[in-house]
Amino acid sequence: MIAIFRKELNVFFSSLIGYIAITIFLVANGLFNWVFTDTSIMSSGYADLQPFFNFAPWIFLFLVPAITMRSFAEEKNTGTLELLATRPVTDLQIIAGKFLAAFTLVVFSVLPTIVYYFAIRELASPTGNVDTGGIIGSYIGLTLLGGSFVAISLFASAISNNQIVAFISGLFLCFICFYGFDALALLPVSEGSADAIFNALSINQHYQNISKGYIDFRDVLYFSSAIALFFLMTQTTLGSRRW
């Protein structure tokens, strides 16, 4: 597993993939949160990182399927999956190695935004008057959200040997899990229990909950089981050669 993790991380950082992903994440966030007046934290009037935490998942929505689309699709296409699968490792170890590498990239792109926290601390009146607990919670939420996106996109990459198909289906699946269930809950037809079910399935709902700074066991359970579920689906897909 460590071997695959190292290899994948090497692929990210010995090519442009890793640097481009991190740069785009940071530039987009920088522009939207600090430069563009419509969305800027400066013009919101509050010393609060909420605009950043609302916007970041939308960039991940595009970025995460893009960095993971080649993971399995390329290995299947070039036949190297056969070599990986005939080494003394289990399919689950292969998936975990690839997951950890992409997840590390997600963490690396989030890490530099901690500067934002110190910026708004200085901007707050009086200085330092910010909701530190809420921000810590939001960071944990964003990382968990990134993790679920990685698991979902890895699954999308495993179902096809074409990278474009992998990217588009990954994007679509992430969108459904993140926003689709939310929107479904708002439909007039899904009043009552259906509403609650859709809300319980929505990544956004759980992300918002954690963002309040109160880390509920149920929300953490939701993210870990979402990741586990897509791990399992990826494993089943890879194992389908055995049918």
Binding site: A3, G79, E82, L83, L84, T86, P88, V89
Partner: protein, 301 residues
């Protein structure tokens, strides 16, 4: 037994890719896997390496079942898949180190260098795999298969795309390896089988049609012995048919003949006596090897 295959089958929908094949390979044997394209060679190899499971039957390597103890099997097998898949963006050394880590090898540095030397990759060691020519890529494929010093090597067309010099080197390498290890290789080149293998398994349409040594296979063919004979005189073609067992006589020119003999014993003795009785001067008498390619064609057509 290094490899034991029993009633192994693989069915894709309606198609029987591999159809109840059974064979055993003792340790230290080099086995050539022959067969026309689509005969089931690669499928058998994929089942032996635990990449795909058999529909029915059993395959085991060094006593470990491919379905029940795949990790044990994978640890003992070095595999070069068909088309030799590689990562073009990786450096040769980087790739071999990755392969070593996948096998959980410790202190693999010297071993990686050794493999680079053994396969003759030395002059190209600084390059990325994507920049290598086909022959050198094939060597990388072989290097990764031998890296963890496996007991069994499964090589699917190991010499495809090599130039004649490389071909000789790689064959020599496989031959040396075969002294200690069990090797199964598939190929289309008959000379290679003759040069390398202790034993040949020919499969056609998923079934084993021959399993024998090279010489055994040559003898097994229905063609009998073929002898090229030349005389100083020019006897008529029909006179040879007086010899019992001679099936066909072909005249090459006035003095030379090709004789196909289906009888028992050595035709050369009979031909000598024939020359004496007819007062002919025997200039040359040569046993023509029954061509393995002919045997192959007979068995798979």
């Amino acid at each position: 037994m290094s490899i034991s295959v029993q009633q192994l089958s693989k069915v894709y929908g309606e198609q029987h890719a591999v159809d109840h094949i059974t064979f055993d390979v003792p340790a230290g044997q080099i086995v050539g896997f022959l067969g026309p394209n689509g005969a089931g060679k690669s499928t058998t190899m994929k089942m032996l390496t635990c990449f795909i499971p058999p529909t029915s039957g059993k395959a085991s390597v060094c006593g470990f079942d491919s379905m029940e103890q795949p990790l044990q099997v994978k640890r003992r097998v070095g595999y070069l898949p068909e088309h030799n898949p590689l990562y073009p963006d990786m450096y040769i050394k980087e790739y071999l180190e990755f392969a070593a880590r996948m096998h959980a090898m410790k202190n693999f540095g010297p071993r990686v260098d050794e493999m680079i030397d053994v396969t003759g990759l030395g002059p190209e060691r600084k390059k990325k795999i994507g920049q290598l020519s086909k022959g050198y890529r094939q060597r990388v494929g072989l290097a990764q298969a031998m890296l963890h010093d496996p007991e069994v090597l499964i090589l699917d067309e190991p010499t495809s795309g090599l130039d004649p010099n490389q071909l000789l080197e790689i064959r020599k390498l496989i031959k040396t390896l075969g002294e200690q290890k069990t090797v199964i290789l598939s190929t289309h080149i008959m000379q290679e089988v003759q040069a390398l293998c202790d034993r040949i398994i020919i499969i056609n349409k998923g079934r084993i049609v021959a399993d024998d040594s090279v010489s055994g296979l040559q003898a097994q063919s229905s063609g009998g012995t073929i002898v090229k004979v030349s005389f100083k005189e020019s006897p008529s073609k029909e006179r040879f048919l007086e010899i019992p067992g001679v099936a066909e006589v072909k005249r090459i020119d006035d003095h030379q003949f090709l004789i196909q003999y289906l009888g028992k014993g050595d035709i050369r003795e009979l031909l000598f006596q024939f020359a004496v009785t007819h007062q002919l001067t025997l200039l040359n008498l040569q046993l023509e090897q029954q061509n393995l390619e002919d045997v192959f064609r007979q068995l798979t057509n």
